[in-house]
């Protein structure tokens, strides 16, 4: 009998790995500002050293809704050799990529990327640096990890420049937004970004968080972190509505949008509400040639994490069926605390066919990668 300090093995790991290569649509690699140094000009490096980043929430480090665990990460994701969660590629391989048989993972770096930074030029400089870093320090060493095109989304001219720089590079999976943009995503100021994404043949990925600079809800500022994380879906409802009703998909019929970490149970009800009101007030939006729910169905994908946990598990299956089995993308959110274990997160009663679609089939159809 032994004392073991390794993590317990998942039952059936080998069997599952052999059957399905998992496509993980949401991994958060952690680079430091020092890691970005090679890709930043002296001007912006010096600026960062002196003035730093200014996110619209006001803190130098940390958040006014402090996370429930340090860096919002799993407590077991801190690499034994030191460093922050998801900063050590070897440990990420051991704890995640190899353990679960991840065939392909999309990196959605959250910081330091300059997204939402008050200064547009700095935001653009950091976006460039983050994209270079993803390629050089992550993808080149670990080709299973695909990059996102981080963009300074509040300045569409600079964002388009960055997208065009990366267009045609099939190591990039999608163009990345954070969800709390300073305006609704359907507003014309963001359209050049959608044009560039379509031109580059890239979907747009919208990942929760960021700081819009507005109150966190449309009824002011809540008090608690639990309210912040619960209510991300509300702001996505507003942006999804905006994208549809402003006619973005009429203007860009090839645009595809992946909603990441926003949950998905709210999608059918939003479609029903918009349809009901569109039927009554079509004259307001003559540019829409279809019911809103049709645009929802045709242009949006949702990631599984954080997996919905209904009191009756069948109810989650109802939602998935109403959304469309071809629209659902597996995501782990490694290394965050609300991480979904690939082997345990999906409803156990799913058919093999649906499970395979969610694990990889749908992502492969959406993302055109090497």
């Amino acid at each position: 009998m032994n004392i073991e300090v390794r993590q317990p093995e998942r039952g059936g790991t080998q069997a599952i790995k052999a059957r399905v290569g998992i496509f993980d649509c949401d991994i958060h690699p952690k680079s430091s500002l020092e890691d970005l140094r090679p890709y930043l000009s002296n001007r912006w490096w010096d600026y960062l050293q002196t003035y730093g980043q200014r996110q619209r929430h006001g803190y130098v480090k940390g958040f006014p809704y402090p996370k429930s665990q340090p860096l919002a990460s799993r407590r077991d994701s801190w690499p034994p050799g030191g460093g922050l969660p998801a900063s050590d590629l070897n440990f990420m391989r051991e704890q995640h990529l190899d353990l679960y048989g991840i065939e392909c993972g999309i990196m959605n770096p959250l910081s330091p990327t300059g997204q939402g930074e008050q200064n547009d030029e700095l935001s653009a400089a950091m976006a460039f640096a983050s994209n270079e870093d993803q390629l050089e320090r992550w993808n080149r060493r670990e080709p299973r990890l695909k990059a996102s095109v981080v963009i300074p989304y509040e300045n569409s001219k600079l964002a388009v420049k960055e997208i065009r720089r990366r267009a045609g590079d099939r190591r990039f999976a999608h163009v990345l937004f954070l969800s709390r943009t300073s305006e609704l995503l359907g507003k014309p100021r963001y359209w050049p970004i959608f044009a560039a994404a379509v031109e580059a043949g890239l979907p747009v990925g919208v990942h929760v968080f960021g700081s819009s600079g507005r109150p966190m809800s449309n009824t002011g500022w809540p008090s608690f972190y639990i309210e912040e994380i619960t209510e991300h879906s509300a702001s996505l409802q507003a942006s999804v509505t905006s994208l549809i009703v402003e006619g973005v998909f009429e203007r860009f019929p090839e645009l595809k949008v992946a909603l990441i970490e926003a949950g998905f149970a709210w999608i059918p009800a939003l479609g029903w509400r918009l349809d009901q009101n569109w039927r009554r007030m079509k004259d307001e939006v003559p540019h829409l040639r279809k019911a809103p729910s049709e645009y929802l169905r045709e242009h949006f994908w949702v990631s599984t994490q954080p997996m919905e946990e209904a009191e009756e598990p069948d109810h989650v299956l109802d939602i998935m069926g109403w959304i469309g089995w071809d629209r659902i993308l597996f995501a782990s959110d490694y290394p965050h605390w609300d991480f979904d274990d690939p082997f345990l997160a999906l409803p156990p009663s799913l058919s093999e066919e649906r499970r395979t679609k969610i694990y990889s089939g749908n992502a492969k159809a959406l993302y055109r990668l090497d």
């Binding site: 004392i3 073991e4 993590q7 317990p8 407590r75 077991d76 605390w337 345990l344 997160a345």
Partner: protein, 137 residues
């Protein structure tokens, strides 16, 4: 169920915990002020490793805004989704009626009733004054 020696008493000082593999099952053993408790390491929610979680106290409230912190170190929070389990009983705090971490009986066997096994051979010589931590699993 069989008895397994998991550690020498001195290996798990008060306030610490140890992870053991028994028959392919991972068990985490806690020393709460000299009392020993053991739980199945696998969180009943979604399988996180409780050993890697945070040992903390019980947070209650007697009204909105009145945080009452007691029993420091007697709650283990899963390192993943943060579910809280009472180390003494395995009871979860978010759904006490339905969810608990599986408990294992833990006893301290005095040295004379030690079960012979490789552990003894691999470490320090057996002494009848030494006590061993034994888990039934």
């Amino acid at each position: 169920m069989a008895k397994h020696v998991v550690a020498a008493l001195g290996d798990i000082p008060p306030g610490t915990r140890k992870l053991a593999q028994l028959n392919g099952r991972a068990i985490v053993v806690f020393n709460l002020g000299g009392e020993f408790f053991a739980l199945n390491n696998r969180c009943p929610h979604r399988g996180g490793s409780l050993f890697h979680g945070k040992q903390t106290g019980l947070v209650e409230a007697d009204g909105p805004g009145n945080y009452c912190y007691s029993r420091p170190g007697e709650i283990i929070r899963c390192p993943w989704h943060g579910w809280e389990f009472d180390i003494r009983t395995g009871q979860s705090w978010c759904d006490p009626a339905r969810v608990r971490a599986r408990r294992y009986a833990v006893g301290i066997e005095p040295g004379t009733r030690l079960i012979a096994g490789p552990y003894v051979a691999e470490t320090v010589p057996v002494s009848i004054e030494n006590d061993y931590v034994v888990v039934e699993a």
